[in-house]
């Protein structure tokens, strides 16, 4: 299945917008993704290995947090997993939390 990588995280996937994995659960898909692109790990998970609160994960058009089995949800090859980051830009000056 395809995992959609948002622009801010493409720096850690060699600029790839989608990464294909073969996995039968959401968790397994994420594990494959971060094995292939280890730098992504700290952006997606906190030190306890839990998904960071500001990262949203969608299986097709559903928020994984609201699926009954959450990250344990079964997946098929035709599913799409999307990582939705919070972006704050408004086309003003680049005020990315003062880290310019």
């Amino acid at each position: 299945m395809d995992i959609y990588i948002p622009t801010p995280l493409r720096a850690y996937t060699g600029q790839q917008a989608t990464v294909s994995v073969e996995a039968d659960t959401v968790d397994a898909a994420l594990a494959q993704l971060t094995t292939a692109h280890p730098e992504l790990k700290r952006h997606l998970f906190n030190d306890d290995g839990r998904l960071r609160a500001f990262v949203n994960l969608y299986l097709n058009d559903e928020d994984v947090r609201y699926l009954p089995e959450k990250q344990g949800t079964k997946t098929t090859q035709s599913d799409a997993l999307s990582i939705i980051p919070s972006i704050a830009g408004g086309g003003g000056e680049a005020r990315y939390s003062g880290r310019c």
């Binding site: 500001f54 559903e62 939705i84 704050a88 086309g91 003003g92 003062g98």
Partner: protein
């Protein structure tokens, strides 16, 4: 209010209005009554930048009666690549004045309210109170959370748009029974994981696309027609020209709009987003010519000190940690190692002298200086970076 009483309370259309809005009036979904609703509407545009520019122009053209504009900034030449409400002769003017000027030229009957101020926890509720719909076109996480919370507390819908490089998001937050920004993003990303300005940039037309989507939602909410983007997040990818839609759910445990809210008044959003006023204090100290406070144990030097050392022939070693394309635009003659390559290339750096680390405005170089200091190098961070150098020392160095 009954619909009859509501209809009589709406403002009448003038002869000019009937001609100006003719293409609306012949749409059954708008019609005379809809146009009168637009005329009665009061909409607040927070920000008159990339998103606010097309948003405000289209709302003014469509016949929204009162438009509030919140901005504290002045027009800069680098804004004009996307902020189409401002023009070349406006460079240096207050954005609210420049924008009001264009909006009134487009529609002289429009009532424009200028809020030339930074939106803060102290003024947001008072400003928002007078409006029916809020359109969030701001550009940082602190103000995003502030706008959201103020909308939820006052029960005003928020036509939300945000952009990053080639990607945009649009939805309506804080509508009755709909989710809010915190339902989707309970916490902001920590500053260290927010993309730096080297990874920033935005395709100029993208805010046009997203701002017009926001304007469309404002019009629909005002008219009460169609299916607003409530509970739906529209994702726009300009590079692949793909639009996708995701379901947004109202989080019953949401701290601000949930069943047992813990946020019942506006808070300190700088603190919430982990951006203390540290950068401001650096700027203030530099202006006063005083010593700069250390940041995370790294000494900070003002641009004036680098100039003094160079003029005194001290030949300081300057390490530039920006990207090669930035170096091409402007540089201070420093040794270039992009931040991402630094850990692998420390062999190029001297251990027998202090290294002055520099980037665009001091954020990336701070990270780099912390890394080098931990590896035993003697380092200082150039506060304000090359932008500070251009502002304070040599205006011929281009800003970007």
């Amino acid at each position: 209010m009954s619909s009859l009483a509501e209809a009589t309370a709406l403002p009448e259309l003038t002869t000019d209005d009937l001609q100006r809005y003719a293409r609306h009036l012949i749409l059954p979904e708008v019609g005379l009554e809809g146009q009168r609703k637009l005329k009665a509407a009061r909409v607040l545009c927070v920000g008159t930048g990339g998103l606010g520019a097309p948003l405000a122009l289209y709302l003014a053209a469509a016949g929204i009666g009162t438009l509030g504009l919140v901005d504290f900034d002045t027009v800069d030449l680098s804004n004009l690549q996307r902020q189409i409400i401002h023009a070349t002769p406006d460079v240096g003017r207050l954005k609210v004045d420049s924008a009001a000027n264009k909006l009134l030229a487009l529609n002289p009957a429009l009532h424009v309210v200028r809020h030339n101020t930074m939106l803060t926890s102290a003024n947001a509720l008072e400003i928002f109170r007078d409006y029916d719909v809020i359109a969030d076109g701001t550009d940082n996480f602190q103000t995003r959370y502030l706008v959201n919370d103020a909308c939820v507390l006052l029960g005003k819908p928020n036509a939300y748009g945000s952009i990053f490089r080639f990607e945009g998001q649009c939805t309506v937050f804080a509508a009755e029974d709909g989710p809010c920004y915190r339902c989707l993003y309970p916490e902001p990303p920590p500053p260290g994981l927010v993309p730096s300005c080297a990874e920033g940039g935005v395709l100029g037309i993208l805010p046009g696309l997203v701002g017009v989507l926001q304007a469309t939602e404002v019009i629909k909410l005002t008219l009460g027609i169609g299916a607003p983007l409530i509970g739906r997040l529209l994702l726009i990818d300009a590079l692949s020209t793909r639009f996708r839609e995701l379901k947004l759910r109202k989080n019953p445990d949401c701290p601000v709009c949930g069943t047992h809210p813990t946020v019942t008044e506006l808070i300190d959003y700088n603190q919430f987003c982990g951006v203390a006023g540290a950068e401001e204090s650096v700027r203030e100290a530099a202006v006063k010519g005083g010593a700069l406070p250390q940041q995370n144990g790294v000494n900070q030097i003002p641009v004036q000190e680098l100039k003094r050392r160079r003029e005194a022939g001290e030949n300081p070693f300057v390490l530039d940690v920006r990207e090669p394309w930035e170096y091409q635009i402007a540089n201070l003659g420093g040794h270039l190692i992009p931040q991402g390559e630094l850990a692998a290339r420390t062999g190029e750096l001297p251990r027998d002298q202090t290294i002055v680390v520099q980037c665009k405005s001091g954020g990336r170089s701070q990270n780099a200086a912390e890394l080098l200091q931990a590896r035993g190098f003697r380092v200082e961070n150039l506060a304000g970076g090359i932008t500070g150098w251009s502002n304070e020392i040599d205006p011929s160095v281009p800003k970007y």
